[in-house]
């Protein structure tokens, strides 16, 4: 066992589905990486590369896998409020107001009602949704609902926030705005974030480390530390070079050369 460093360790993690009468399906093979406390790590890759599977494993939503997943040196055996998650669909419950949606996750948190109300208010303010406390999800735009989901993911004060393509369903402009917002929140809250995305630009813009994955079978092909100066300029040559490197390691450039031309 390793010493407690608050680090997330993924060691030779594999996940496969055995369906009788069908060949074994390897969703994820031998994935290993570590995430230091306070880091922003992206898992990027084409669909079917196992990135969402990996995130579900880290969240503890799926506990059947080979290998080791450790946080604080302890094996992950289920979900915990210390690991928040934001899904691609905002998944706010339509029958609860924004405030109730965010509050629901605190149902079993050891806080007084006053403390809960206070932290809910603070997190609504953090994502800039003041004035919408009593709005139902259908009254919010897609971007606002996703902000609500981010507030819900953070309200239980997790040490790790898992983001499963949270901006994937948004329009381009809203997405760029929320990327900046996410970066600001990451700095302010100092929470470790792991982002799953298929958008290479998004990964480079936000991350301190990009983990590149590929499909058939789902696996990690490269890990790249991003040391571009901040704020990152999406149009700089260094940015474009890094993007090209990442797309290359996904094997994208040979199939779709246009993707790499920025």
């Amino acid at each position: 066992m390793t010493v407690d460093t608050g680090r997330l360790e993924v060691e030779a993690v594999s996940k496969s589905y055995d369906t009788p009468g069908r060949p074994r399906l390897d969703v994820l093979v031998n994935a290993s990486f570590t995430v230091e406390p306070g880091a922003f790590v992206s898992l990027v890759g084409p669909s079917g590369c196992g990135k969402s599977t990996l995130l579900r494993l880290i969240a503890g939503l799926d506990t059947e896998y080979q290998g080791q997943l450790r946080l604080h040196g302890e094996r992950i055996t289920g979900t915990s409020l210390a690991r928040g998650i934001v899904f691609q669909d905002h998944r706010l419950l339509p029958w609860l107001t924004l405030e109730q949606n965010i509050g629901l996750i605190l149902s079993n948190a050891p806080l007084t009602p006053e403390a809960k109300a206070k932290t809910i208010r603070e997190h609504i303010a953090l994502v800039g949704l003041q004035g919408f406390e009593h709005a139902y999800p259908h009254q919010l735009s897609g971007g606002m609902a996703q902000r609500g989901a981010i507030a819900r993911g953070l309200v239980s004060q997790p040490e790790l926030l898992l983001l499963d393509e949270p901006l994937g369903a948004l329009d381009a402009l809203t997405r760029v705005r929320l990327q900046e917002e996410l970066q600001r929140i990451w700095r302010v809250e100092g929470v470790t974030m792991i982002l799953v995305t298929h958008d290479v630009d998004e990964a480079i813009f936000l991350s301190s480390k990009v983990i590149v994955m590929n499909a058939n079978p789902g696996r990690i092909v490269r890990q790249i530390d991003v040391d571009l100066p901040e704020p990152r300029d999406r149009t700089s040559t260094a940015f474009a070079a890094l993007k090209r490197e990442i797309l290359d390691s996904m094997g994208e450039r040979h199939q779709a050369p246009t993707l790499a031309e920025t």
Binding site: A59, L61, T79, S80, L81, G84, I85, F87, D89, R91, L93, P94, W95, L96, L104, I105, S107, N108, G128, L129, Q130, G131, F132, H134, A135, Y136, H138, Q139, S141, G143, M144, R147, T174, R177
Partner: protein, 282 residues
């Protein structure tokens, strides 16, 4: 995000009532707001009915004039205690509805939450369900006599199945993603049921309650026609036997209007309970 403009368009209270003018203009404003188009067809039917009677196209024994029906209504209210029969029907139908719907929601939830409960009940229920309430009625009258309890029981039975099946289905249809979410939130089983599963199933339950309420009201007329000495259903068959066509029509109109009122109240209840839900407005 443009927060300020959206904030203003949020939970919209109905726009302020139009400025009060003369009673006539107020009535007009009300009619326009309440979609007066819905009144057009009833008015046309009344006109055709009136014309048919006054021109002598139909024998009054088969179809008395609207005015004659209105007079019969007054007579029935003033000197024949129509209200008592009306209340008798209403009481039977409410008791039957609440008993049937209550049991259905409770058992539907139990079966929805546990496959074992569902497996225990479903073969029996699927057979009982296919014997119509009216086919049960003769046996139940043998047991309970001609009074209200037999009718309450038959109505409860007829209300039970649509509500039970919809409650069960509503629970089974809960999005699996919500279950994941509950797991992430570390909710207990009871919190999952109360905060996620039951609200998610509510739209189904509400639709079936509205349907069942209409069904119950229709059934009370049949049940009273088949047995007993009171209620609108009894009056309607008696009127037919005595060739009191005007009284028969009074009963029909009252039944129709009450049915309408029941349906509308269920609709508004549904809207109120499901105000978080946004559907296609047409």
């Amino acid at each position: 995000m443009n927060t300020t403009t959206l904030a203003r368009t949020l939970p919209s209270t109905p726009s302020a009532a139009p400025a009060a003018g003369s009673p006539w203009s107020r009535l007009r404003a009300l009619l326009i707001r309440r979609n007066a188009i819905g009144f057009a067809l009833p008015v046309i039917i009344l006109l055709v009915w009136q014309t048919a009677s006054s021109r002598g196209w139909v024998d009054p024994v088969f179809l008395p004039a609207p005015a004659a029906v209105a007079r019969a209504f007054v007579t029935m209210v003033v000197s024949q205690d129509l209200a008592i029969d009306f209340l008798a029907s209403l009481k039977v139908v409410s008791l039957g509805f609440f008993a049937g719907a209550g049991a259905a929601v409770a058992l539907g939830i139990a079966a929805g939450l546990s496959q074992r409960v569902e497996q225990f009940f479903s073969p029996t229920f699927d057979i009982v369900r296919h014997i119509p309430g009216i086919a049960w009625f003769p046996l139940i009258v043998l047991w309970l006599g001609l009074g209200a309890p037999a009718k309450v029981l038959v109505i409860a039975k007829s209300v039970f199945f649509p509500v039970f099946l919809n409650t069960l289905q509503g629970i089974r249809n809960v999005d699996k993603n919500y279950i994941d979410l509950a797991q992430v939130m570390t909710l207990t089983r009871w919190q999952l049921v109360r905060r996620i599963i039951l609200p998610a199933a509510t739209p189904n339950v509400m639709v079936s309650l509205r349907y069942a309420a209409g069904l119950a009201w229709a059934l009370v007329v049949v049940a009273e026609g088949l047995s007993g000495l009171e209620g609108l259903g009894f009056l309607i068959f008696r009127a037919q036997g005595l060739l009191l066509t005007d009284q028969l029509l009074v009963c029909m109109v009252v039944i129709g209007l009450v049915g309408f009122a029941i349906d509308r109240s269920m609709y508004f209840l549904q809207r109120r309970v499901l105000r978080w839900k946004q559907g296609y407005d047409g």
